[in-house]
Point group: C2
Chain length 394, copies 2
């Protein structure tokens, strides 16, 4: 699928490793309305700080992204390197440098390999093509095993509007008002306010509902660029019906990317939805689901295909949320194994164990105490997670 | 070492597995002043609920403890089984059943194998001996690889006072106002108020400062029985000097047990002290140290002997504590690798990597922002942790 007025390219610049795509560029022919959400980690990488400043104008024309180096905890020199890398794009494309958004992922605490950027900028710009979007998705991979993209087409005012998105995982994933890297381009004609609000609300229900290991990165960001080339009637505060259609498409696309991140989580063998219902408040349900989803004991039991609900209820008990243990029902898929806090016996457990052997399943918990309900998406915790993270830098 | 007036015994009762010690009994000849701290998990096991009720009298004469079954999430039947098991002790020793404290560890959600208790009570009581304390320490092991005991002798008013303690780990360990099982017996003569206060303060600085996996059990407890047989002058509110000597001994003993739990953590290959200083408040230092100590990414880097300080500062950034990243110094042992938020380079990192190869080391973080300082003790996160917990019930 091609989104009108956008082109992309990626090259193997040798930023950290030889012979793998590690530098990507996404460009809109004309300035695009651009919104972003960024990591809530207090320690913010240089590109995050620069983007936040530049996005005050609500416009951008290019995203330059690299893997292999996070440019985080790099001080003034890191900021200077970030600015210099955006100047390379600005000069090559003949656009103001403040129209360039930057994004980096990789090892924290090392300075950017700027010569690699300088040497490859010419090639990167020369290879800009509408069809190279998937190549950029490959260039941003670190421990990801597959490139992650998603597409949507909607019709607004008789005009076809396209959305294309990409994301990367695969560890240090528990986004909070942001996520790891994700970029969306669309040719929709939409005001900054509506675009920003659609993004914030969609991220809250998608990327902010996944966790792989409870760690939030210093470099998380989601950027969406809308260049208006579809020619649809402007989506502004007076066009709430179109705004809803657009937001539904955006949210669906982001959810698809978020679930792709979870299923490609470091070492993951299973994707699990933790659904908590019957809580006093939605916030309580979320806190309970998040505590379960981040428990190493629960996640290793999933890996072992063990219907060990005792670890689930023990995690709930330390979550800080008040509930009555004697009201709790727990089901794996549609198999209830705990009713009112008590085991339903060996037979129910045997049926639940079959569910656990599937690649993807839900754990449903009912507190019977109110109407609060939330879902968190996560993965299991395997020996490969440890292997990957014990060896990541070597 | 023998503590006057106490005897112990352990048997292989076949509660869950055949031919391993799994039922233990500790008895004081006379009623002992007894204090306890218990899990803060909202989901509390039957023995915890019963002990809390009985300890209102501040006295006990026996502790009956089993491994193989936690008797947690077992409802009314679980409470009834707990009471029945204490009646077996009460009848065999001819003491009131409210003088019996109970403790269980093992799988959550299964009912106690009461016939195993009934069949073995005679033998358990018959084998009570002053020298069998270590046997009980073996009977409470689950995934522990070594039995954990510690001893202290102090002199109070010219009298020798003995303290003997035992504890078990080795997973679901992030105690909060309590810990996994630990029992201390002493022949000190001490009032309930002083004993209780000494225990609470000591636990706060020992068991509540360790974490293996961030999970808090439903069965955590520390019990201390003091039968006064040493004949030392009463430790009461007027004897603060003796109280301090006693508390120092108790705290030292509990810290020794706590560190033994950490170094025997499930799959652990290293013991690590996380020391955060220069925080605005002690609470901030504790929160930062705890977040680092529970980060799966930090712990797997320790396992991989990788001086990956970027993961440490990223964990600090999501801890919820405000600090200035540009003031942060990080040292592994006495090797500083980060000064004012920036790497000191490859040479410092190479020296730090040597420290990481040791079995035990400290990570010291200075925020240069105040006088708050705290330590948390933890272990690394290995493939064996996953293996143990994926297979624990099978």
């Amino acid at each position: 699928m091609r989104v009108k007025g956008f082109s992309s390219s990626a090259v193997a610049a040798g930023i950290r490793y030889a012979d793998r795509l590690d530098l990507g560029l996404i460009v809109s022919d004309t300035p695009a309305v651009t919104a972003g959400v960024f990591t809530t980690n207090q320690v913010k990488a240089a590109p995050v700080l620069l983007d936040l400043e530049r996005l005050k104008q609500g416009r951008a024309q290019a995203i330059l992204v690299n893997s292999g180096c996070a440019n985080a905890c790099t001080g003034e020199k890191g900021m200077e390197n970030a600015r210099k890398s955006s100047l390379l794009v600005s000069e090559a494309l003949n656009i103001p440098d403040v129209m360039v958004q930057l994004s980096s992922t990789g090892v924290i605490g090392e300075q950017l390999n700027l010569p690699a950027f300088e040497k490859n900028m010419g090639k990167l710009v020369a290879e800009l093509r509408p069809e190279n979007f998937e190549q950029v998705a490959r260039a941003i991979m670190t421990t990801d095993t597959v490139a992650k993209t998603a597409y949507r087409t909607i019709t607004l005012g008789g005009k076809e509007v396209q959305l294309a998105g990409m994301a990367k995982g695969a560890g240090m994933i528990m986004p909070n008002m942001a996520t790891m890297l994700a970029f969306v381009i669309t040719d929709a004609q939409i005001s900054f306010t509506e675009l920003h609000q659609s993004l914030v609300e969609s991220v809250e229900r998608t990327f902010n509902r996944i966790t792989i290991d409870g760690d939030t990165s210093t470099n998380d960001m989601v950027l969406v660029m809308a260049n208006g080339r579809a020619g649809n009637p402007w989506i502004d505060e007076d066009a709430q019906a179109d705004r809803q259609l657009f937001q539904d498409a955006l949210e669906g696309l982001l959810k698809e990317l978020a679930l792709k991140i979870v299923s490609d989580g470091e070492g993951a063998t299973k994707t699990i939805t933790i659904r908590v219902c019957g809580a006093k408040e939605n916030e309580d349900a979320e806190q309970l689901a998040r505590t379960i989803a981040n428990s190493a004991l629960v996640k290793t039991a999933f890996f072992g295909e063990d219907a060990n609900w005792g670890r689930i209820i023990a995690a709930m008990g330390r979550s800080g949320v008040r509930f009555n243990p004697e009201h709790v029902d727990i089901a794996f898929g549609d198999v209830v194994i705990v009713r009112n806090g008590l085991s339903l016996g060996k037979e129910a457990e045997a049926s639940a164990t079959k569910i656990l052997k599937e690649k993807s399943f839900a754990v449903c918990i009912d507190l019977k105490d109110g109407t609060g309900c939330e879902e968190i998406y996560t993965c299991d915790f395997s020996m490969d997670y440890v292997k990957i993270n014990a060896n990541y830098r070597t």
